[in-house]
Symmetry: C2
Subunit: 116 residues, 2 copies
């Protein structure tokens, strides 16, 4: 038998008071992990940040290429993934592609992060 009274021994100094009432289901965990994985890249974070700075004004692939130290194919690749995931929308106008932030999913992610 374990007579360690371990919970008493462990000092609980954290101000943690979880807002998470439900444990993430396997399904939701997979879904959110896929999106967090996209955020787990500095280049993509900066792409999102640059687009967000424009507010409602869309930004083109070329704009991003000129602001980041990444090749045009790499940036196009990131934009595709972010768009497919629902973090961005893409609108073509002439030969330019305009991207904007989709706020919805970001709000969901913030809720998932209410763990502490």
């Amino acid at each position: 038998m374990d007579l360690n009274l371990p919970l008493a021994e462990v000092s609980v100094t954290s101000d943690c008071c979880s807002l998470a009432t439900e444990v993430l289901s396997t399904h939701d965990a997979l879904r959110y992990a896929e999106i967090f994985k996209l955020l787990g890249d500095a280049g993509r974070l900066r792409i999102l940040s640059l687009i967000a700075r424009e507010g409602c004004a869309p930004i083109t692939t070329t704009d991003l290429v000129s602001e980041l130290d990444l090749s045009q194919p790499t940036i196009s690749h990131h934009l595709k993934k972010l768009t497919e995931a629902g973090l961005l929308t893409r609108q073509q106008s002439g030969r330019k592609a305009y991207y904007t932030i989709v706020p919805n999913l970001f709000a969901q992610l913030r809720t998932v992060l209410e763990l502490g």
Copy 2:
């Protein structure tokens, strides 16, 4: 010359109104990407969720092993990474290791996600 008036052509239907006033620096982007990368794994997300459910009560490695379909070494590995990143704290008591959520960093991540 570009006479497309593209910004007028692109319909701005999004309710985007960015709260992000500053573009993420390269340094911060790297720093946050490293943490989002950790959240980009379903197993780790569920580990965090299970720990958060306990509120302030710490949880042991074995508790997690019994709730997840991952081997004990894999879970220990994830716990180490999450702890090193500052998302968890670890306290040893006897032969058990108790883990708890560190709320601070989660709050920072929520701020970073205020893009839309």
